[in-house]
């Protein structure tokens, strides 16, 4: 028997007290770790979305839900199939203050053999594109050929596989890095491919023709970059006046909305974590106060047998530290088990871009959560250790306290 085994005996033979301390600190660590991971993922998601968007203005058909549809498509991968006449692209390019404009065509799959649900197919023009191409270039170092596709990170297929869309076989040539946005569930192809797929969809009666113009000459959205030094708001107004049956949306506004929502969610999470910590600290304080009374006699015996006040404080602090550390470790592991498998659920519930941090950052957050919680547990126990070390053994043992 030595000091360490004495400590272990004290802890294991008082399971109720020990488990309460471990559970409380586990609860603290879990709330801290999960909250940090969720807020961090939301911030990364927003940053990723800002990086990927790359345009100042998006022009979409003037249907009532277009703006919401566009936002939902970007954030949640909601299928968007809206079209306008392709001539809108020329009108946009002609507008004063526009530096670059690039069109995209959206088509939803019926049910591709890669996926259990419909996926968004996005056709873009590699020659003029400045939105998707830089992003794709990170995963594909050659031009995207006809009937070749690049898939988002959450599309369940691998590079080199073929899968069929509307009975047309497409070859997967690259898989993109995760963005935490709805773009992770999309499939990207060039304009030739998308026209072939539109034709195939029409043969199946899926593609709805627009009211006027050439059926094959349609676009879903036009991404606009304004000239440097030009006010995007002014260009946005010009586009709204110049392009018929279309609405120009400033991406900054869309991002501000997302950013505002994210701030709201972050604030709510921070308040929740704060409330949990206050509650848990109050309970921790009560548990420690109860411990002062419960252990008074036991610690009087240690003093009687020759333990100094410092040794006694040290023993209580070591016990508290061991419980706190164990609790913090369990809480963090439990937090990881809860938060990571449910990433998609969290993302869907919050309706915000959500990109989980890398393993290194997660490990760092885990270490911080463990250390902060263990430290808080020790600090809470310090007062108890200090009070208990002052116990007067003669009086305590005689009074039978």
């Amino acid at each position: 028997m030595n000091h360490f085994s004495l400590m272990i005996r004290n802890l294991t033979r008082r399971p109720g007290r020990t488990i309460s301390l471990i559970l409380l600190t586990a609860f603290l660590a879990m709330s801290l770790f999960c909250g940090t991971i969720v807020v961090s993922s939301l911030r990364r998601g927003l940053a990723s979305m800002e990086n990927r968007l790359g345009a100042d203005i998006i022009v979409v058909p003037a249907e009532a839900e277009s703006k919401a549809s566009m936002k939902n498509l970007l954030l949640q991968g909601t299928i968007g199939t809206f079209y306008m006449d392709a001539s809108a692209l020329e009108k946009v390019r002609e507008t004063e203050g526009v530096e670059k404009a690039s069109a995209q065509i959206f088509l939803s799959s019926m049910k591709a053999d890669c996926c259990s649900v419909k996926v968004q197919i996005i056709g873009f023009d590699p020659e003029n594109d400045f939105v998707v191409q830089p992003w794709i270039a990170e995963s594909l170092n050659c031009p995207l050929g006809d009937m070749e596709v690049v898939v988002g990170s959450r599309v369940e297929t691998d590079v080199g596989n073929n899968f069929r869309i509307y009975d047309r076989s497409c070859r997967v040539v690259a898989k993109l890095a995760s963005t935490g946005t709805g773009l992770d569930t999309a499939v990207y192809c060039n304009m030739n491919t998308i026209h072939i797929l539109l034709q195939a969809a029409e043969e199946k009666g899926i593609f709805h023709k627009i009211d006027s113009g050439n059926d094959s000459e349609v676009v879903s959205a036009i991404y606009v970059k304004v000239l440097s030094g030009t006010d995007p708001g002014l260009v946005n107004s010009r586009l709204n006046g110049h392009v018929r049956k279309a609405t120009a949306i400033r991406t900054a506004g869309m991002m501000t909305e997302v950013s505002d929502s994210l701030s709201g969610v972050s604030r709510t999470i921070a308040v929740l974590i704060g409330a949990i910590w206050v509650l848990a600290l109050i309970i921790l304080f009560i548990v420690f106060s109860m411990m002062v009374n419960e252990r008074r006699r036991e610690l009087a015996v240690y003093r009687l047998l020759g333990m100094s006040r410092k040794m006694l404080s040290g023993m209580i602090l070591k016990e508290t530290a061991l419980c706190s550390f164990t609790g913090a470790l369990c809480g963090t592991v439990l937090g990881a088990i809860l938060v990571f498998p449910f990433t998609t659920l969290i993302e869907t519930s919050l309706k915000l871009p959500y990109l989980a941090p890398g393993a290194g950052t997660v490990a760092l957050y885990a270490c911080i959560a463990i250390l902060v919680t263990a430290a808080v547990g020790c600090v809470s126990g310090f007062r108890t250790a200090s009070r208990l070390s002052q116990v007067d053994p003669g009086t305590t043992l005689r009074e039978g306290v």
Partner: protein, 223 residues
């Protein structure tokens, strides 16, 4: 070893009553010599336990000094006094004094390991045998009677082998047979050169005493 008290007294503050403090022990001087059993008797509330706690280095006197040979106990830092008590002074207190999370055997070995020493297992086995608690070695204190707990506390003190033994009502929970066993053990310890003080309100211990003090209302007189 000689344990000497020089004019030690103890006062306690109190919120109610005519005076704002009560002197539980009036200035007392006494010397406990090695190789002798000293018995301190007196009625309950006469100040015996307070005096014992002051002699044991557990309770600061309001005035006066306590010396173990030439060492002034209360001039020492807490860590030095604690270590000295651990090595030289064994106290058997009134009431329950077991660590509830340790078994009987672990409780008995406890004093020996506080400062990293080797557990005194042979001595522990011997004293458990002498006091008839060998069969309870793995029992937890909550399972023991008052008399068994008392014998465990005495075995724990004797196992540690201190130079000074201060026992507060050591036979209070014991029947006459066990009382005789305990007092004989103290007598043998004294014969081996230990300094022994037995505080008791009963008369059993007086037959074993080399010197007797009587305590009444905080003052002592030699019997």
């Amino acid at each position: 070893m000689q344990l000497r008290a020089e004019n030690i007294s103890r006062r306690y503050f109190r919120k109610h009553g005519e005076a704002n403090f009560i002197e539980v022990v009036h200035p007392v001087s006494l010397t406990l010599e090695s190789g002798k059993i000293t018995v301190l008797n007196g009625k309950s509330g006469s100040g015996k336990t307070t005096l014992l706690n002051m002699l044991a280095g557990l309770l600061n006197p309001s005035e006066g000094e306590v010396y173990l040979n030439e060492t002034n106990l209360y001039a020492l830092e807490d860590k030095d006094l604690s270590r000295l008590r651990s090595e030289k002074i064994g106290v058997i207190p009134q009431g329950r004094s077991a660590v509830d999370t340790l078994s009987v055997y672990e409780n008995i070995l406890l004093p020996g390991i506080l400062y990293g020493g080797i557990p005194r297992t042979e001595e522990a086995e011997n004293w458990m045998d002498v006091f008839g608690i060998s069969e309870l070695r793995n029992a937890m204190p909550a399972e023991l009677s008052g008399g068994e707990l008392r014998r465990m506390a005495i075995a724990r003190t004797l196992t540690a082998g201190p130079e000074v033994i201060l026992a507060d009502e050591p036979t209070g929970d014991l029947d006459s047979d066990n009382t005789a066993v305990v007092l004989t053990a103290f007598q043998q310890a004294a014969k081996a050169g230990k300094t022994v003080l037995v505080v008791s309100h009963e008369t059993d211990a007086e037959a074993y005493a080399d010197q007797i003090y009587h305590m009444n209302h905080g003052t002592i007189e030699q019997g």
